[in-house]
């Protein structure tokens, strides 16, 4: 019997870890959800605050006001001077950033493991003691306005991109740019902008993720100490839902006197992150556009030796997405050919299956990119928080890998039929006269 126990013990040693990311969770009494992803091999730790609110949570008449918080969050608090938080992190070799999106907002700092206490304190300052003066808000509002106005005036690419995006998103909330309606931005009331801070500091809207090197036992008490006193002062943000986008083909030409190059923008409505189609569509994006494997690049640059540049932008929202493909060239005739070949390629994808080798390459690349992300604590934290926000699931790593490994060529035909068809497309040609 003793030998049997020994064998069982040895067997346990060899069982591989089941979870790609080891993660546990708990909630504070005030409603903050905490996710812990410890990794003793790391030297750093990341404190990431994921807010379930973003621009989509703003009242419709001041939509875009949350975007101002991308900078406002780094200003003065009761105990810190403006940007002192960033200076502290940089002084210690760390990195810090923040981003406000439509469906969420994310602020993080990666610091040496020994500075975890400071990082937690800095986050708690931002969430509880931010000083919002009218002067700073107006300054920030003007800075965003000036920057966007400059883009709109100077860049035909920016204007074209915004137009296509607006057409793709129809009447959904994603139609308004992240920064809001530029014509109304300067009229946003400072008092109402200040009130949005309550959404950010509402504990029910917060998922706090700690990843990297830390002591799992000690951290609970520290989190309770720094974040336990936060109170709800606003209605929690709604759970994310997939937004159905209206279909409709749109085609437009813009003729301009002087432009540096001719270009075509092809916009496609893409699945929401909540949809199962999302992973399949991502594979299609890898296949068509990823710099390392791009089919379009192979056709235009390698096979046809055409003088064109290809770039793309995928929106990466939770509720609804868009894919913008931009092809530019000095020669307009080249772009006419490009449009023809892209149409042919899309039609082919709707009927013909990818080869086994092509499919394998795309799946490998998706897997490699995903695993590469898991080596950075801020990326791990973001993946965990976003997935928890969307599905309440903690085992995202395994779920994603399983999903990718299961993709077959029939799935890609199905997805192509659904998303590459004409009714799902908006095309804008920008040519010089």
């Amino acid at each position: 019997m003793r030998k049997l126990i020994n064998i069982c013990f040895i067997l346990l040693l060899f069982i591989p870890l089941h979870s790609v990311i080891r993660v546990s969770n708990f909630s504070l009494p005030n409603g903050i959800t905490v996710l812990l992803a410890p990794d003793d091999k790391m030297n750093s730790v990341c404190v990431l605050t994921y807010h379930k609110n973003g621009v989509a949570s703003d009242p419709s008449d001041i939509r875009g006001a949350s975007y101002l918080y991308q900078k406002l969050m780094f200003l003065e608090t009761d105990n810190l001077s403006p940007y002192e938080r960033i200076r502290f992190i940089m002084k210690n070799g760390g990195r810090s950033s923040g981003k406000v999106n439509y469906d969420n907002s994310v602020f993080y700092q990666v610091v040496p493991a020994s500075d975890l206490n400071y990082a937690l304190w800095l986050e708690s300052e931002r969430l509880q003691k931010l000083k919002l003066s009218d002067r700073e808000i107006i300054k920030q509002r003007k800075s965003v306005y000036d920057r966007i106005y400059r883009f709109i005036n100077r860049s035909i690419h920016f204007r074209a991109g915004e137009w296509v995006r607006k057409e793709l998103f129809g009447n959904s909330i994603y139609k308004t740019p992240l920064y809001g309606d530029i014509e109304k931005l300067n009229t946003f009331d400072t008092g109402r902008i200040k009130r949005i801070y309550q959404n950010f500091s509402n504990p029910k809207n917060i998922i706090l993720v700690i990843s990297g090197k830390f002591d799992e036992e000690e951290i609970r008490e520290k989190i309770e100490r720094y974040f336990g006193s936060l109170e709800s002062k606003s209605i929690p943000a709604k759970d994310p839902v997939a937004v159905p986008l209206s279909k409709g083909y749109k085609y437009e030409n813009w003729m301009r006197e002087v432009i540096p190059e001719n270009f075509i923008l092809i916009g496609l409505r893409a699945p929401s992150k909540l949809s199962l189609d999302y992973t399949y569509f991502k594979l299609l994006v890898y296949y068509l556009l990823d710099e390392r494997t791009s089919k379009l690049k192979r056709i235009f640059k390698s096979n046809l030796k055409m003088d064109v540049d290809i770039s793309f932008d995928f929106s990466n929202n939770i509720g609804a997405n868009s894919l913008l493909i931009k092809i530019s060239s000095k020669k307009r005739a080249e772009l006419e050919r490009v449009r023809f070949y892209i149409k042919r390629l899309f039609e082919m994808l709707m009927t013909d299956r990818l080869t086994t080798s092509e499919l394998r390459t795309m799946k490998s690349l998706m897997e490699i990119d995903f695993l590469k992300n898991l080596t950075m604590p801020e990326k791990i934290s973001l993946v965990l928080a976003e997935n928890y926000h969307m599905s309440g699931n903690l085992d995202y790593g395994n779920m994603f890998l399983k999903r990718v490994r299961k993709i077959n060529s029939f799935d890609i035909v199905r997805i192509s039929k659904k998303y590459l068809r004409k009714e799902n497309t908006v095309i804008l040609n920008v040519f010089s006269k």
Binding site: K3, L4, N6, I7, I10, L11, L13, F14, I15, P16, L17, V20, D39, K41, M42, N43, S44, R87, M90, K91, N92, G93, G94, R95, V110, V111, P112, D115, G212, R292, T293, K297, R298, K301, S302, N303, K305, S357, R360, T361, S364, L365, E367, I368, D369, L371, K372, L374, T375, M376, P377
Partner: protein, 460 residues
């Protein structure tokens, strides 16, 4: 009774062995640092937590007679636009996911590849195809010559590569100023045999260093590599070397006319001692005190002098027996001269007011902590091994038993470095150092320069 008999110690050992083969995931990390019988130095590290495999191959060049040849060779091997239909080597890479990045350096190249554990055999095939490459052809070569600049400038870092070439040219070969410069008109003189012979002479196993980390069995991988190269000839290593103690340090300001009209970019390049020299780390701290952004002395002075919208980043490149720190500075045309003067002023002040212990400790803390944070990155880990490989030495434990050389620095030694007349930031001679290379519209740059007299290089 039968059950008991079957559990004899020998059976248990066999069982453990079988299980270890089937479920190797939880076996602690192993590392193998070994040279193959054909001279390829390898550093293979088992790290199952990575779940994929990251490999870096460094190939040191033995000679650089014409600087265009290494790039042409690389283009002919790796560029998908030239290799159409896809070559065998690119086909292997494509099967592995094609997550490949090539880092061009003056005297060596680094190929970085990420792939999944299931593709280990493909990786070994790739290595074999690379060192035994037979895919050069006249058609491909002619295409690469015809489209050289379009293909070269496709790479994000092409300006940095040109800047490094100019800097090395000025630091080491002032008597032969053309030696390391990418040629414009001279390309026509080259023919296919140049790249064939370059490949044959330089892409050799003894001139290479391979580091692999991830979900691998180092012993199995080493065996596969050994087997793949068993029919290769035994060759001797031969490296070209730039020595830190041989460089000429006079200040040069060069405007590079690349035909573009974009915002200017300044590359400020200073030589440093090689990474296995303790002075290298002192110099990193001085560099951070001066060029740190936004907290360094120069950044603060520039801000208070009214220079707006500038940005400084820097990176250290390692070569055999020398490192260089390459600062990339973005500043408007009007402020270029002002910025350079502020920087020179800050460097010269190092000797007058010295550096206080507090400022030293702050900078030391930044460098030390950043290195700790960066060490979580798998590419940084590989980069560290490659930097060590330049010295050809194995990693030694220091006197104090600490591996990290930063832990051996002292404030007293640091003051000594500041007084070293040969150092990049020495303060005893009133002689400006550093090679400054400005990319931008030459007439606009010159319009705002009053005291600085630059030379202009046209590269196309």
């Amino acid at each position: 009774m039968y059950f008991q008999n079957s559990l004899r110690p020998r059976s248990i050992i066999i069982l453990i062995f079988i299980l270890a083969i089937i479920f190797p995931a939880n076996i602690p990390g192993q590392a193998l640092e070994q040279t193959t019988s054909k001279g390829l130095r390898t550093n293979l590290i088992k790290d199952p937590s990575l779940m994929f495999i990251h490999a870096e191959i460094v190939i040191y060049y033995s000679e650089i007679s014409d600087p265009a040849v290494p790039y042409l060779t690389l283009m002919n091997i790796f560029d998908a636009q030239i290799n159409n239909p896809q070559s065998g080597l690119l086909n292997i890479l494509f099967k592995m996911g094609n997550d490949v990045e090539i880092d061009y350096k003056l005297d060596h190249l680094i190929i970085k590849i990420n792939f999944l554990p299931a593709d280990v055999n493909q990786f070994v095939n790739f290595l074999k195809s690379l060192y035994n490459y037979r895919g050069f052809s006249l058609k491909k070569f002619n295409y690469s010559i015809k489209n050289f600049w379009d293909l070269f400038t496709k790479k994000n870092e092409w300006k940095r590569i040109i800047a490094a070439q100019i800097a090395f040219n000025r630091l080491f070969n002032q008597d032969h100023p053309e030696q390391f410069l990418l040629p414009g008109k001279k390309l026509g003189r080259l023919n296919l045999s140049h790249i064939r012979s370059f490949h044959k002479k330089n892409y050799t196993l003894p001139n290479s260093y391979l580091t692999v980390q991830g979900d691998i069995n180092p012993y199995v991988l080493f065996g596969l590599i050994e087997k793949a190269f068993r029919n290769f000839k035994n060759l001797k290593a031969s490296y070209s070397q730039f020595r830190y103690d041989h460089y000429k340090s006079d200040r040069k300001v060069i405007i590079v006319d690349d035909g573009s009209n974009g915002n200017p970019i300044i590359y400020w390049i200073d030589p440093l001692p090689p990474s296995d020299n303790i002075d290298h780390h002192h110099n990193r701290i001085i560099n951070n005190i001066l060029f740190g952004y936004p907290l360094g002395r120069i950044s603060r002075s520039a801000s208070s002098s009214g220079i707006k919208n500038f940005n400084i980043s820097w990176v250290i490149h390692h070569h055999r027996n020398i490192s260089v720190v390459c600062k990339k500075i973005r500043v408007g045309y009007r402020d270029i001269e002002k910025f350079i003067m502020i920087a020179d002023n800050a460097i010269s002040k190092l000797g007058v007011g010295r550096i206080s212990r507090k400022e030293y400790l702050d900078s030391y803390n930044y460098v030390f902590q950043k290195e700790r944070i960066d060490s979580d990155n798998y590419e940084m880990k590989a980069g560290e091994k490659i930097a060590r490989s330049f010295s050809g030495k194995k990693v030694k434990e220091s006197k104090t038993g600490q591996k990290n050389p930063l832990k051996e620095l002292s404030y007293e030694d640091f003051s000594r470095i500041l007084s070293d007349p040969s150092g990049s930031y020495n303060v005893n001679r009133n002689k400006k150092k550093g090679i400054i290379i400005i990319f931008g519209n030459p007439s606009l740059v010159k319009k705002y320069l009053r005291n600085i007299k630059p030379e202009i290089i046209k590269i196309r």
